[in-house]
């Protein structure tokens, strides 16, 4: 909504409005240990990544934190020890999340103990999924082989539960930066529609669409990112996190996923219905 308003504001500025890249000097940021924890019911998609935070404009590769010990426990007290398979990446192949469970991580790095809790929600399943021909962006090249498409995806929400979803679209393993998060306040127990336009794909691209059923703290965290994405004047700040520990930041997410993975073929596109 804010975006539409901005769009119109910018437009009525008699078409004289302009965007330009400017040079901004930012102060250095204090280095903190970052926990990127992810546990799902999808095999091979469970890890805890430890890195150091960097300055905002820093272009160097992520600085991994190695030599920590870590384990995960669930609601019933079952413990999974994690191994550092690659530098800074800690995992255990047996660790697969279950719906409506609670997971806790415990990380010990140089005697600094970092913990976090996350709860999985009821799992959902994508019922239907469509690809439609998208609009060519203004200024876009019509002859280009890369065209924009619209994804539509539907699933049933679990009634009488507070549910939160994050939809992630990847093309050739590259994440689409736009953030799509929603709660079920207006859709409790009903079909949740997801629609995203402007997704660029070519024949034979590997595409995945993942619907993550997440908890409230994850939703709030990403909702703030979403707000900052659509309203450049939104008041920014650090979102609340479930990570507890000295100088530790990041987010730990235990979730369930419903995914569609496919190799894109032009024949998949629903013809005749050009999306506006």
């Amino acid at each position: 909504m804010k975006k539409s308003i901005l769009y119109i504001i910018v437009f009525i500025a008699t078409l004289t409005s302009c965007e330009k890249v400017i040079n901004v000097e930012l102060k250095d940021s204090e280095k903190k240990i970052v926990i990127d924890g992810f546990i799902s019911d999808s095999i091979g998609y469970n890890y805890i990544k430890l890195t150091n935070s960097s300055n905002f404009f820093d272009l160097s590769k992520e600085e991994f934190v190695t030599g920590a010990t870590a384990f995960v426990t669930n609601k019933s007290g079952k413990k999974f020890d994690l191994k550092e398979l690659e530098p800074g990446i800690y995992t255990n192949p047996k660790l697969i999340s279950e719906p409506n469970n609670k997971y806790s991580i415990n990380i010990n790095y140089k005697n600094n103990v970092i913990t976090a809790n996350s709860e999985t929600q009821s799992s959902i399943k994508i019922d239907s999924f469509f690809i439609k021909q998208g609009r060519v962006k203004p200024g876009g090249n019509i002859d280009s082989k890369i065209k924009a498409y619209t994804f539509e995806c539907y699933w049933e929400d679990k009634k009488d539960e507070e549910n939160f979803y994050h939809v992630i679209v990847k093309v050739n393993n590259r994440i689409n930066n736009r953030i799509f998060v929603t709660d079920d306040r207006a859709l409790d127990g009903k079909t949740i529609p997801f629609k995203s336009s402007g997704i660029s794909m070519m024949e034979n691209d590997k595409v995945s669409i993942e619907v993550l059923s997440v908890d409230k703290i994850y939703f709030d965290f990403y909702h703030l990112l979403f707000t900052l994405q659509i309203d450049p004047n939104a008041t920014p700040g650090n979102a609340d996190t479930n990570i507890k520990g000295t100088d530790a930041i990041g987010l730990f997410n235990a979730c369930t996923i419903s995914a569609k993975k496919f190799v894109f073929k032009n024949s998949m596109v629903i013809k005749g219905e050009k999306d506006k």
């Binding site: 308003i5 119109i8 009525i12 302009c18 004047n233 008041t235 987010l251």
Partner: protein
């Protein structure tokens, strides 16, 4: 404390009443050609240079003097002064009609006797503008706008391109009370701040109190902007219009019954959307985008002592993107007012006021319609008295009761696939009583002191949630209809003083306490019509401010130059900010997202104004600071408020080449808004997450802009043959017109509307700062006429 103040008031008043027998001269003063009441006319007594009075908002004055013969001068800037000799032996009613200067064909310039009004007036921290003052100031799209021009005065700062509202002395935009004929206007801008809702042809007078407001005003911390609409010409029919590039307007006024009653209708509409059709993009060309507003007013003299006014404002902004998205918002206000001259000394003003602001968003998605709406509605009763007790005391007192109904947000869908979301309405009653006295202690010292009592009560029905400081729900309680949830009593003393050093210099000082019971929720530094108002409640305490100010006023060169400087400090408590990521729209638990803190603002203002001559204009400069303190933000340390502008500079100049041709320019410069930028970053689940360290630790680039305007009036007079003598006679042409050419942002400065950080499209993985500027150069042309 309160009793002491009241006691002191009556003591001071009583102290002066034991004088000898006096009689009262009173009456109303009007414009000769239109019958409009004149506000602020000076009434001076030749024999008693230190005595005098001014007319109130309804043109009424009253002055009490000893039995004697006096020469009474009635003078008003731009009008011919009238002198009346009065043998005062009984209470006397004198109604006066003043002729505008321009009406006379003679070249004699009549100078108003009180050119030093700014020095001797007892009001402190007040900016006044009349429509004449803004006539030549260049503005965006050539649309004269009193609210934009007032922002060029010291201590008043524009919110910036694309933002509604203004900031007064470090206060936020929602701390300004904007009244149109007494009715609060909750969203005073059109098209996100490009225009104000005030159509300048319908407006008579604007006063802005910068925090030292008299006791009759209250309910906001920073300022009161009191806008009065024209009443309508009760002598003859008149039309006044303007045709511009993106908007046109027309005003018709005239008598209903000559000299007794009149009406005025003034309408305005933009047609910016016509330009959208030129765009080769179906989505844009099928969009709508316009606003309109309509001011209507009628008044009738029932008797010499009674007059009834009816006034209304209806304004709406509409925008839509094809049939997919519709959004409209607007204010409606209505006022019924009864002026009654009870006796020579007592003037009564009774009004019943209605005010409504709402918005409606309609979205159609896959042929499913849904809409979001919000509304605030007020019913307001005001009873005000002006009591001109004696030569040295004039008392104002009255009461004001406002019933507020808030519907913060509703989400409705035309399908069972979506559940509706209804945010619980809130009901409150804001009642105030006040008394104040303007007291001339001795010739050179005048004090204005008063007290305002306010009660704010939140009442049911409703399911009221109680939140703790951390935002956790303590409990929920159900309240029945009209059951009191919480009630606040607040006392606000006000005092100001003017010490006249000599004819051309004075020192003024003031202290004022104010309370605010309504808070605008907006978690973005850009304003939106969807920003909702929230009343004080069991969780939100009323905000309070205490301000002291000291000023020095000096006129130079025979009052042709005015200089003033004012220094102020104010401290605010219980002001509102938000938890990180707070959602203010459609959130039933929004009160749990609010934070309570303090604020402080201080600064010094300078104004140098040249009033007469071919070149006129002013320079204003403000050096100021505005900061906030919240336990939960910025590690509990003071941080700059968004509207903290250290330097603020404006220059306004008009050069009159001839009677018909004038060139004007304004240049503004201010420190960029305080803004929060990230310091670090990290990744989560493949997404880049910015890491922030301090709130508002950075600045937007400095804002500056030059606007130019050129006004060419047609010939004012024409020659006609006198059929009797055969001579050519010069008469005033009833049809007056003018062309206005303007350049907004003449040197095309790209002032930042927003700065955001995005991935570099040419260089994935790299982040860049992108600035959006709304305007480069905006030329415009408009044609105005009246007949």
């Amino acid at each position: 404390m309160k009793n002491f103040l009241l006691g002191l008031l009556f003591f001071l008043v009583a102290h002066n009443t034991n004088a000898q027998l006096k009689y009262t001269i009173s009456g109303t003063i009007q414009d000769f050609s239109t019958g409009e009441d004149l506000i602020g006319v000076n009434i001076a007594i030749k024999e008693l240079p230190t005595s005098g009075a001014t007319t109130n908002t309804y043109g009424f004055y009253s002055i009490s003097l000893k039995k004697d013969v006096y020469n009474v001068l009635f003078s008003y800037l731009g009008y011919k002064t009238i002198t009346k000799q009065i043998d005062l032996s009984k209470n006397t009613r004198i109604n006066i009609s003043l002729k505008p200067d321009a009406e006379s064909l003679s070249e004699v310039v009549v100078s108003a006797t009180r050119d030093n009004d700014n020095v001797v007036s007892t009001s402190v921290g007040v900016s006044k503008l009349s429509i004449k003052d803004i006539e030549t100031v260049p503005v965006l799209f050539g649309e004269k706008d009193i609210m934009k021009t007032i922002q060029l005065l010291p201590g008043v700062k524009p919110a910036g391109d694309g933002n509604a509202g203004f900031y007064v002395r470090g206060g936020s935009a929602d701390q300004n009370l904007i009244l149109l004929d007494g009715a609060p206007v909750y969203n005073a801008s059109h098209l996100m701040g490009f225009f104000s809702v005030f159509n300048s042809t319908a407006i008579k007078d604007v006063k802005l109190y910068k925090g030292s407001m008299p006791a009759e005003y209250g309910g906001r911390l920073a300022s009161v902007m009191d806008v009065v609409m024209n009443e309508g010409n009760n002598k003859e029919f008149k039309a006044d219009g303007g045709i511009g590039l993106i908007s046109s307007k027309l005003t018709i006024e005239g008598p209903i019954q000559k000299d007794k009653s009149s009406f005025i209708i003034s309408g305005r509409r933009t047609y910016a959307d016509l330009f959208l059709m030129l765009v080769d993009d179906e989505k844009i060309s099928s969009s709508t985008l316009y606003f309109y507003d309509l001011n209507v007013k009628a008044n009738m003299k029932i008797s010499d002592n009674d007059r009834v006014f009816l006034s209304g404002y209806f304004g709406r902004d509409v925008l839509g993107v094809a049939d997919k998205f519709g959004f409209n918002w607007g204010n409606t206000t209505g006022t019924i007012r009864w002026n009654h001259i009870a006796n020579d000394k007592l003037f009564s003003n009774t009004s019943l006021i209605f005010s409504n602001y709402n918005y409606l968003i309609e979205i159609s998605n896959n042929n499913i319609m849904f809409n979001i709406s919000s509304q605030i509605q007020d019913w307001n009763f005001k009873q005000h008295f002006d009591y001109y007790m004696n030569e040295n005391n004039s008392i104002k007192f009255g009461l004001n009761v406002i019933n507020h109904t808030f519907k913060p947000g509703d989400f409705e869908a035309e399908t069972d696939d979506l559940s509706s979301i209804n945010i619980e309405p809130k009901y409150s009653l804001e009642s105030s009583a006040y008394v104040s006295n303007t007291h001339k202690i001795f010739e050179k010292l005048t004090l204005n002191y008063g007290l305002r009592f306010s009660n704010f009560t939140q009442y049911g029905p409703g399911e009221i949630m109680y939140w703790d400081k951390e935002g956790n729900l303590i409990h929920t309680k159900n309240f029945n209809k009209n059951e009191v949830v919480v009630s606040y009593n607040r006392w606000a003393p006000r005092i100001s003083g003017t010490f006249i050093v000599n004819d051309n210099s004075s020192i003024k000082s003031s202290y004022a306490r104010s309370f605010q019971f309504l808070h605008m929720l907006s978690n973005s530094s850009s304003s939106s019509p969807t920003d909702t108002w929230m009343p004080s409640s069991n969780n939100i305490k009323p905000s309070e401010s205490n301000q002291i100010a000291l000023g020095y006023f000096r006129n130079l060169k025979d009052n042709k130059w005015e200089f003033s400087t004012e220094i102020y400090y104010k401290y605010m408590t219980n002001i509102i900010d938000y938890r990180t990521g707070a959602q203010t729209m459609l959130n039933n638990e929004v009160e749990s997202e609010l934070l309570n803190g303090d604020g402080r603002a201080y600064g010094i203002e300078f104004l140098l104004k040249k009033k007469a001559g071919k070149f006129s204009g002013w320079i204003s400069y403000t050096l100021s600071k505005s900061e906030k303190l919240f336990d939960e933000i910025n590690n509990g340390a003071w941080f700059s408020a968004k509207q903290d502008r250290i330097h603020d500079f404006s220059i306004v100049g008009t050069y009159k080449f001839t009677e018909r041709l004038s060139l004007s320019g304004t240049w503004v410069y201010f420190t960029g808004n305080a803004i929060t930028f990230p310091a670090g970053k990290f990744s989560n689940n493949g997404f880049m997450v910015p890491l922030y360290s301090e709130r508002n630790g950075y600045r937007m680039p400095d804002y500056h802009r030059l606007d130019l305007g050129l006004t060419l009036k047609n010939k004012k007079y024409k020659y006609v043959l006198n059929p009797k003598t055969g001579e050519k006679v010069k008469i005033k042409d009833p049809f007056q017109s003018s062309w206005n050419f303007s350049l907004y942002n003449a040197y095309a400065r790209e002032n930042a509307y927003s700065i955001s950080f995005q991935e570099d499209p040419d260089n994935p993985g790299h982040t860049q700062a992108v600035q959006i500027a709304l305007f480069k150069i905006v030329p415009s042309i408009s044609y105005n006429f009246s007949f």
